[in-house]
Symmetry: C2
Subunit: 451 residues, 2 copies
């Protein structure tokens, strides 16, 4: 596992500089063969050296080498970072040279995988590195940073320690089985497990929020054909992502895009208008719209105040209420509104906009933000953003239920102990105390090359 | 000029790491305010420090700072490079924070401009940095590296020193004008100037080559409609850049692309087929083709061995010969060739390929490379690749001609001295001994941000 790996660590493309990362047992000998400058084998860790990298006598580039001697490096191995001119050609030549000298190309995430294997951080923290790099807004960034710095791991560790104590007590009883002693008060155990389950519930409940933070809060824009849905999405996006036309029924595909409102991402879905139709293509679109609306966290329901009737609007408000999804009722085409429709909508606390004129969109954004107010996010609590973690917590909860059932039904301590070990196993996979080849490969293959 | 500038130095986008560069008088105070870790104001130059960058108490990222204390840095000012997680969001937040602390965004090339102003290298070397980053193949890379390491500057310096000596002798004579002495033998001067002109000629002649290295050797693929020109270009590019169809006359625009053959770039131009036509759009295409062929350094002329007649082929060979441009005669559609046409082409040393089957393309590439064999490149001579340098050398040559004319016609030494000073001025702009604001801005604005 200590062979020497190399990869470009900065994004591909032309830039002022590029950084090539080398890690492993032979990092220093390999660089020493091709670098002309100070003798790096005698230099201190965390020092920087100017020189040239040469293939025989031909200079490939003037570079800065930054030396990290293991274990004081990202991977805890010997690491050298080569800062070179940001030319794809030069980077290619440098990597080729290092491969010729005995390094091999790193797999995606292999540097971070080595950091994990060498104990620099646990698995949940390693996973947070990828999330941190992918973070696109303040809330994603904050959740990933908290996780990378051990927030999630600390909570899991607490759970695990209590369970381990619990398990060892039960197992101690097994050793003294003939004497019928009870080292662990069943009442205390029940209380402890309930506390654990409570903590797990808090974490798993945060996943809905965590998922929304990571992928954007699913928000559907709905309404009758030609109510101005695509125009609103475009106005919000400030660009022409959707095809806008005056012909009702233009939008048939479900179009998605993410908008950042004060650090919270909303994943907007523009939809086909809702009406009965004979056009099969459009009918499929309407069906999709209904499905999307039921899945949504928030619906923006648009009413065309210029064209619709009071009867229509009554029907629509009833329809949207019955979906039981948080919604904003929005009267569109404010500049051309029929007064009686505006009055009717006012009674239902509607918001009035003109998507075309981009009027009142800031109010709409504020209302949207208030509707989903992410209270738990603001409290600084740990948030689960990773599906793998969510599933691990759910499996732990399941196992704890079996422990409780076991105690209740008075089954043999052997089985109770086994169920506890099972819960411990699931918790262990979260932070990486328990891993398999497949699990690690699955996690790290999602990283970018060079990390 | 010593205010503190900041810019992302690595290419934009997602990567394992990003590097932000800060340079100027306040580099250390600014970073000291936001960095938590070792006290960087007390740390040594060329050392690396792990810590966090915070906006108030909120952690933006865990980073590595590399410290360079002026004048031991790229710009010769205090420089800090921040190596952070390669997330565009994080990079944006970090740069925003540094701007709030009093840094300003660097203009393109501003770091290198400061390096030049502070005497790290001369102007020709600074320009080579941009060429080095843009280098896409071995010959561009080698020419830029030679120039950055002072090859071109050394030649210019030699010229300049000899001329300065010359000028001071003439000016000395001016001081003793009444005594009619001659410190500088006019015969020696003439010889010296001829030597200088010879050196300048060698440099300016290398520009054709230098330009070809930098932009690719202009290579035109020509032939009758449907001879397989687009198919050949595609086969060479290994991708579908041109629209290929069986309908003669499909290609109307001039399509260009660069192909790397063993470290030499060829800028291929696919063209509309040559024939008389009534279609005005196509007629314009044919006209452009003729113009392109005359400008080309190399022509690949394709003959359709399946469809053409002996009479046609005779005409074509005569036509291509008369252009007086190096060419390769190529018989295409080898698998369906008429034997008599193949025989006819063999008499003219044609190369046979099947563009569609990708047969014999390696031979074609070898022949192409041989045809343009860049002998002067291989000799390790200095090559002029920069249009500005070429023009400066031409202007110097012009001024030297006037010196010679002045001596020949026996005009006053005042004028001879002025012409020499004029030549010195042009040489000085090349390496930057003589600069103007406009010149500098023009040069450095072509750099990428962060360099």
């Amino acid at each position: 596992m200590n062979d020497t790996i190399v990869a470009l660590a900065t994004p591909p493309g032309v830039g002022a500089i590029g950084v090539i990362r080398v890690s492993g047992n032979n990092t220093f000998p390999i660089l020493n063969k091709v670098f002309r400058g100070k003798d790096i084998t005698k230099a201190k860790s965390h020092s920087v050296h100017l020189g040239t990298i040469r293939d025989d006598e031909e200079i490939i580039d003037e570079v800065l080498l930054t030396l990290f001697k293991g274990p004081n490096s990202y991977t805890k191995e010997d690491v050298i970072e080569i800062s070179c001119h940001g030319s794809p050609f030069i980077i290619q030549q440098l990597i080729k040279l290092l491969l010729n000298q005995g390094a091999r190309l790193a797999r995606p995430g292999e540097f971070t995988q080595r950091a994990f294997v060498n104990g620099r951080f646990d698995l949940a923290q390693a996973e947070a590195v990828a999330d941190l790099i992918a973070s696109e807004n303040e809330s994603m960034h904050s959740a990933a940073m908290k996780q990378m710095r051990g927030g999630f791991s600390d909570e899991i560790k607490k759970l695990r320690e209590e369970l381990i104590h619990f398990a060892s007590m039960i197992e101690l009883e097994l050793d003294f089985a003939e004497e019928d002693v009870e080292f662990a008060s069943r009442e205390d155990l029940r209380k402890l497990i309930n506390n654990l389950k409570h903590l797990i519930r808090r974490l798993t409940e945060s996943f809905t929020l965590g998922n929304a933070i990571k992928n954007g809060i699913p928000t559907v824009i709905a309404g009758k054909p030609n109510a101005g849905k695509s125009t609103l999405l475009n106005a919000l996006l400030n660009e022409e992502k959707a095809i806008v036309s005056d012909i009702p029924g233009t939008t048939r595909d479900v179009i998605e895009d993410v908008i950042n409102v004060d650090g919270i991402s909303f994943r907007f879905t523009d939809t086909a208008g809702i009406r009965t139709t004979k056009d099969t293509v459009e009918a499929i679109g309407v069906e999709r719209t209904m499905a999307k609306m039921k899945e949504a966290s928030v619906i923006l329901y648009l009413v065309d105040m210029q064209a619709e009737t009071r009867k229509d609007v009554d029907k629509e408000i009833n329809f949207i209420r019955e979906l039981n999804v948080p919604y904003l009722l929005i009267g569109n085409k404010l500049d051309e509104a029929k007064p009686e429709i505006k009055l009717q909508l006012e009674e239902h606390d509607a918001l009035f906009i003109s998507a075309k004129q981009k009027d009142n969109l800031e109010n709409l954004k504020s209302a949207l933000k208030e509707l989903v107010s992410l209270d738990s996010f603001k409290t600084g609590n740990t948030i689960v953003t990773n599906l793998r973690h969510y599933e691990g917590l759910m499996a732990t909860d399941q196992a704890l239920n079996q422990v409780i059932e076991g105690i209740d039904s008075g089954i043999s301590n052997d089985f109770v102990a086994m169920d506890i070990r099972n819960a411990l196993h699931h918790l262990g996979t979260l932070t990486g105390e328990i891993t398999t080849e497949d699990l690690l490969e699955n996690i790290f293959s999602k990283f970018c090359i060079g990390k």
